[in-house]
Point group: C3
Chain length 344, copies 3
């Protein structure tokens, strides 16, 4: 059994979505001047056209929880993480009025393929400072929060807005671009489509109603005592070895030894990778260990760009955080993975 | 529905084959001294041993049509294309009395793999000037006409004749040769087999009765107003992009803009590749567009040798011609693709 | 029909295994002080705890046959080949008391993958001079005898003993090591497991009861008149070509021509590779030929290390011997392949 990252508990609803998901089809409740309702005729009886409690709710929830609540294992009563100043106050649900950007193929491909580790479609939030997406996998076990700063782009001009993107299709289109090819992106505010230019080819991609996409999870406030930074190759090696004997992988820290162990136990065979001072870039040691699903760790570690330093943060039976950057630090990736209950 | 390249309509029969195909097994009607009938006992009642109308027919048909007939869409009332002087007068149906040749692996592999795009077996016509094959795919949608001149060979000595070749097997055998390995070919007039020498390995390959192979199509006389020459990479890029959204691909020319567009329309997404002066080696512009099956265009464009210039010729709802060369111009390839009926 | 390498005929039993295999589960009959019986409760009624005839049997069989018996085709009344002095006298069936070794990834991978051509698990016999395994495929058609001398190791310290190894798992673990990575092996005499260290990763692999592994075949004494030594590329080329036309491959030697032919006959097509002086490193010619299953020859030739010289020894309808070395001559490989009965 796994401890899930609950993103759809009734009392942990993100502020902007009305609490009607289980009874009715999620319908757009955008407050913007652009009407993005694709199916105007569907039943809306239980659905408020706009949620008056948005601002109040967010603030109460946000401020109150951060100070007063402690984390409870197995139920990630979550806080909205401050993404950039006043984002909390009013979450945008309409498409941007302006979005024109140009970026190297390598960077945008990395952004999309990272998210593809957990979802096929996602809300990409655009704004003056860059683009940002948070998504959780269907089983609520792994979450990604990925930001691509405006500085990662060759040119960038955008207002606040959200784009519902079919990542699978987007990834396919991006295959037309080599690493250093320029990919030009622009949102057509008339057709509501994303226009992608790659070396003469113009690709017009329909967007998805953002409200039909699963809502973004919140990141729980946690006190994770163990933190280590190491080359991705070290983790990949441990994961590859563990995969030979088990479906699970344990990360264990011995404070006295200032050593971290990546371990896996099979029916007859065992694997252990010892990571001491020489193997680590940084370590905050504490006694503790946690067990994770190897399939998920495998999927996450596959996304690590070659040669990157990864920071792992964990603690007994809490989610593990994987943090790294690419595109010269202009792209921040945070992956969060729920632990597996330890039977021993 | 597609406009097919009709090669078996009764009134469009190639001059050299007696009109008995639908009632009897096609049997050899060779006039040469070498008897290639593998089954001498089969019924031959409706089958003239040699067709006395051959020469007359060909000349009447050929000269008359070229001057007087205009093309009618959907029915490719075809002319035999002059392949080399007096070939029209007497089409050889017997194996050559002499065929000994040596060629680099790369060239012969390219020749065979090009034909493999449409057929598994073919008649290879050999003669003093080189080898030549024309074949149409089983659905009558795509045709290839490929010539490998004697100059493409390291050594070459052949008399007129036809070899029925299992191209699938031949292609497999040629895998033994690297690009610059010498492939020696010789027809054994005693065993009627093709002997292939590659770096010490002698491969003896049985031939197929040429009369059991589907007859060669004729190339219709057409007036195709639009012609463009471009790098194969440009076409490949357009085809790859189109393949993401649709099963069809449109080639459209705008005379005023002197621009050609490769376009594809999917249910929600569209692709457009604009090819203007900078992208083209040559262009004869006229207003017009035609739609083709993407599967076929894909198969044809996969055969383009890397870096080659391709000449496309087309016009509204007519077949498209793809022409290019390889082996330093010693190999000429013509592919013809029937259009799809446009529903819009 | 194939001539099998019979390793389980009653009267050709290897000396150390009691003749009870067909009625009862093979149970350990080790005489060593370490008890390796994993299932002490199984029925042992028909099973002597130790075989008193071991020494006698071996000596009688070994000495007697070598001098007196001539080979009979189709029945490989086999002799134990002297592997190293007094091995014949007492065959060890217990694990070693000491086994610690370090070796380059490339060498140990080659050792394991060679054996994997015929079996998934094997008895690896360790001793002061190195490690050695002999195994036959389940169909009794192909056998490997592979020795890795102590000199092939970076460091080596072992006493006599036998390890039952799951080669499939071992091969998978070794994928963690690159060609020049150091692989450290040690047998844990307390847990009876093999501990494998590769670049920080410690892999603990359970061993298999050697007595549950099929017993080692014996190599028949044969008088094979034809012997040739050649580059592996030559054989691979012939095998690849033969594979296109047939399931069988013939090796034929013409004494007068001092030439060896690798031949294959298909229903319609034939392949022949002529190997004369220039193609061969050495040749002992005699008239004769033998037919082998192409699948097996293919599997064996795939194992040849690139660029290695292979010595083939064969004679009419006898098994063929393939001999080569790798790791600077520290690893000796002998593969033996039973012939196919020739129907012509």
């Amino acid at each position: 059994m796994s401890t899930n990252i609950e993103s759809d508990t009734a009392d942990a609803q993100p502020a902007t979505t009305p609490d009607v998901e289980s009874e009715t089809e999620p319908e757009a409740e955008s407050e913007s001047e652009i009407d993005t309702h694709p199916e105007p005729g569907v039943e809306t009886e239980a659905e408020p056209e706009s949620d008056p409690s948005v601002d109040t709710d967010t603030n109460t929830d946000g401020d109150g929880d951060e100070a007063a609540e402690s984390d409870t294992e197995g139920e990630t009563e979550a806080e909205p993480e401050s993404e950039g100043g006043d984002d909390d106050a009013e979450v945008v649900t309409s498409p941007p009025q302006q979005f024109t950007a140009a970026i190297k193929g390598g960077a945008i491909k990395e952004f999309v393929s990272t998210l593809r580790a957990v979802v096929d479609e996602a809300k990409i939030r655009v704004g003056p400072d860059g683009i940002h997406t948070r998504a959780v996998d269907p089983a609520n076990v792994a979450m990604y929060d990925v930001s691509l700063a405006a500085g990662a782009f060759e040119s960038y001009d955008a207002t606040e807005g959200v784009l519902g993107v079919n990542l699978e299709r987007f990834e396919e289109v991006l295959k037309l671009a080599k690493k250093n090819d320029l990919v030009q992106l622009s949102f057509n505010t008339t057709s509501f489509k994303l226009v992608i230019h790659i070396d003469g080819v113009e690709f017009t991609m329909a967007l998805i109603d953002p409200d039909s996409i699963r809502k973004e999870p919140e990141i729980p406030e946690m006190d994770l005592p163990i933190s280590l930074t190491l080359e991705e190759a070290q983790i990949s090696r441990g994961v590859k070895a563990a995969d030979m004997v088990s479906d699970h992988i344990r990360f264990r820290c011995d404070e006295a030894e200032t050593t971290v162990y990546i371990e896996a136990e099979g029916d007859t065979d065992n694997v252990s990778l010892e990571l001491a001072d020489d193997d680590l870039v940084a370590l905050t040691a504490a006694d503790g260990n946690a067990l994770y699903s190897l399939d998920y760790v495998n999927d996450i570690s596959k996304q690590f760009p070659t040669g990157t330093e990864i920071t792992l943060t964990f603690g007994g039976d809490f989610p593990m955080m994987f943090e790294y950057q690419f595109s010269d630090g202009e792209c921040d990736v945070l992956a969060m993975l729920a632990p597996r209950i330890q039977s021993d």
